[in-house]
């Protein structure tokens, strides 16, 4: 039972903010106020230091280890740069899915046309090959 929860609220846990004006950005938990709120700071991702409720946030799998409680913003920025936290986040499948969703939502008509053409070309290559294979088998 104890081991089934892998994502914990702790100093150094990286969180993704889901509600509010900073939605979609990641930040790091710097101090815990109580069972509902934490102080969160994201100097490298343009998130001002603030108190945030756990309801407005999603815990990620990334933890910045060795972070002292109530670390200042500048020192935190140095820690994050050293651990390359933002890069680690952007490499995760989760972040890439969010990015893909955003890109798809922001497509213009011309982008959709280009996508249609590329998909058609892909289909053409695949269908030609499968027709050849079908003939060989028959």
């Amino acid at each position: 039972m104890q081991g089934s929860f892998k994502r914990l609220v702790e100093v150094g846990r990286v969180v993704l903010i889901t509600h509010g004006e900073d939605a979609g950005k990641i930040a790091t938990i710097v101090d815990i106020v109580d069972h509902n709120r934490a102080i969160v700071d994201g100097p490298t991702t343009d998130v001002k230091r603030q108190i945030i409720t756990y309801k407005n946030v999603v815990l990620t799998d990334i933890v910045v280890k060795g972070l002292p409680r109530t670390i200042g913003t500048k020192a935190l920025a140095k820690f994050l740069e050293k651990e390359q936290v933002v890069e680690a986040w952007q490499k995760t499948a989760w972040a890439q899915k969010l990015e893909a969703r955003k890109r798809r939502a922001n497509m213009s008509d011309f982008d959709r046309f280009k996508l249609m053409r590329l998909k058609k070309q892909q289909r053409d290559i695949v269908n030609r090959q499968s027709a050849v294979l079908r003939k060989e088998r028959a």
Binding site: R7, L8, H19, I39, T70
Partner: protein, 176 residues
């Protein structure tokens, strides 16, 4: 931000022939605005001294801002409140970032736990308490070094209320 603000209210009795320069009395009042702050000032002052709004004047009202609003502190609040059958003293602790937020928590807490409204509660003293001197276990549990805990029941909400789906394909999972 928040409903309550902390004000410093200074007032005195009106000067008279017997008392050309009356003493100034200063109070730190928690109130939603300056008007209520001045009113509470006279409420308290008339209980402590022979001075009331009719024969006194308020010299100044200034808002007191928190020095470090992004640092969590442990506040101990001493208060006095009227219950339905008597008046009692209490000491409660809150973990907040500003004095005004702690007092607001306290009023909400008193209303919830004891059905005591704003007018029946008198805040006697608000002070930051060192972690080693915290008396209440519900605050002590948050002061352990290396505190960490999971969020066992995750309720997924959409970013905007308008994005709520009336019908969803799969039963939502609450595992984080």
């Amino acid at each position: 931000m928040g409903r309550l603000h902390e004000y410093q209210v200074i007032g005195r009795r009106l000067p008279s022939e017997q008392e050309p320069t009356p003493k100034l009395f200063r109070m730190r009042i928690f109130a939603p605005n300056q008007v209520v702050a001045k009113s509470r000032y006279w409420y308290f002052l008339s209980k402590l001294h022979k001075a009331k709004q009719a024969n006194g004047e308020i010299v100044s009202v200034n808002e007191i801002y928190e020095a470090k609003p992004l640092v969590v502190k442990n506040f101990g609040i001493w208060l006095r409140y009227d219950s339905r059958s008597g008046t009692h003293n209490m000491y409660k602790e809150y973990r907040e970032t500003t004095r005004a937020a702690a007092v607001e928590s306290c009023y909400q807490d008193m209303a919830a736990r004891h059905r005591a409204r704003f007018s029946s509660v008198q805040i006697i003293r608000v002070a930051t308490v060192k972690a080693s001197e915290v008396r209440r276990p519900y605050i002590q549990q948050l002061l352990q070094p290396g505190l960490k805990f999971p969020l066992p029941h995750r309720v997924q909400r959409p970013a905007k209320k308008a994005d709520r789906a009336l019908i969803i394909a799969q039963r939502p999972s609450t595992f984080y």
